[in-house]
Symmetry: C2
Subunit: 298 residues, 2 copies
Amino acid sequence: MRIMESTAELQARADAVRAEGGRIALVPTMGALHEGHLTLVDAARAKADEVWVSIFVNPSQFGPEEDFERYPRPFEADAAACRARGVDVVFAPEAGELYPDGHQTWVEVDALTRPLCGAGRPGHFRGVTTVVTRLLLAAKPHVAVFGEKDFQQLAVIRRLVRDLGFDVEVLGAPIAREPDGVARSSRNRLLAPAARREARALARALDVAERAVADGEARADEILARVRAELARAPLAFVEYAELRDPQRLEPAPTRLQGPTLLALAVHFPAASGDPGARVRLIDNRVLHPHLHPEDPS
Amino acid sequence: MRIMESTAELQARADAVRAEGGRIALVPTMGALHEGHLTLVDAARAKADEVWVSIFVNPSQFGPEEDFERYPRPFEADAAACRARGVDVVFAPEAGELYPDGHQTWVEVDALTRPLCGAGRPGHFRGVTTVVTRLLLAAKPHVAVFGEKDFQQLAVIRRLVRDLGFDVEVLGAPIAREPDGVARSSRNRLLAPAARREARALARALDVAERAVADGEARADEILARVRAELARAPLAFVEYAELRDPQRLEPAPTRLQGPTLLALAVHFPAASGDPGARVRLIDNRVLHPHLHPEDPS
């Protein structure tokens, strides 16, 4: 496994692999790799001859009040995990490599980035789309793999790739979960112990909604009431949003669900760090599939 | 010579050329090709095995009051000129190919796009940088050639390429001029005949400034006064801007020039079209090289 820090070096290798007809799959990450990331590596492996993982905690996608400094950076463990999983290249650039002196170029996706995480994290998606553009130009992959946990991010990147005409296939990989159902996230390790236990509320709320829909419930407000009731059973939880949206355009769902519908959650919990005000933001989601009754009068 | 309309087809050819070790140079244009463009083709030829010309009148870089509809589109003549000059591929996409349904992704360069043409044409450079990103992703060239007549555009694209890490060399080509000194432009043919004669004022004003500097003048206000006096000899001219700026960052020049300095002009003239209010916007520029006196007290 090679560890590279330079864009030019990575591009040279991409050209060499491509010249020999090899296929490259890129897994962009911010490091602090867990089993969720490693399932992305496996998904990438199934699609390509070479699997490349980028590890870069991207400053421009963090707001001034967010956890950029606190975000975990266990590079040695990450490199070891990549090596053990058969990764061919780890791209681990310094910030100055991706944001050269005088940097002033931004890539923005418009409507898709406004609701959900975009509403609560101004500038976040601009940072994501800018760095993903740069990573795709650096690695020139045939396939790029992203987790479905960041559902909105995946939708935004699909739009970015389509709108700019990147010849890369964007592959979404299913949410990986801890044994207790909590979606795997690098931020889970930042949770206070009691908060870590309560974090199960997100997955439970998704289950509640899924069961309601399976039982024939199609009223958006009723589904959301059950979701909020389930989240309310976690007293440490602060709900940033719990919303039903169309999975393609992320527009608000109709009052009665009429097809596959995204249920997206963002919930804050107390952090384990000494700072009593520090919070950890967790997200989770599921696409609900209501029964469709063509004769339904609504 | 091949004419292509599809991004995917162009990318497939780029991959094939690259796999054989061939080098591609792209000349992005809006068509209405003149000898200025064709000198770009020659510059491209000197740098690559294949010369590709894109012809696309990019709607997103025109303001609502601008001449998008009026912009000339002589495609057959353009294709013939490319063929005669040895161009290998003409990429002539429809607007829907570069801006797919639901398009909402924009590439923006910040500080460099604010002054000069950016001040008078809000959104113009966002359109330019977005379409250039898309064209570079479509053609995957080793070299991209742009004219120095659009000095600010060239500076913005150099910044874009550096900030996003495109592995493409950006090549600027000198301004091509008509026999009477007017910078070659697709818009020259839109000028009313009297305006076409007066358009020589731009190049004359650049000459006046160059002579002043050669004679030792270093005061910015004095140089600009002479430039404006020269432009004032063209009664049909409306001066949008005449400015001295640092050629890298495009920041305002100091009161006494202290190194290479951009003199940039944008001047409007009456159009030949029936509409008496219709105007044609011409730009021109030159980098002035003042004498440097290390002992100069200022």
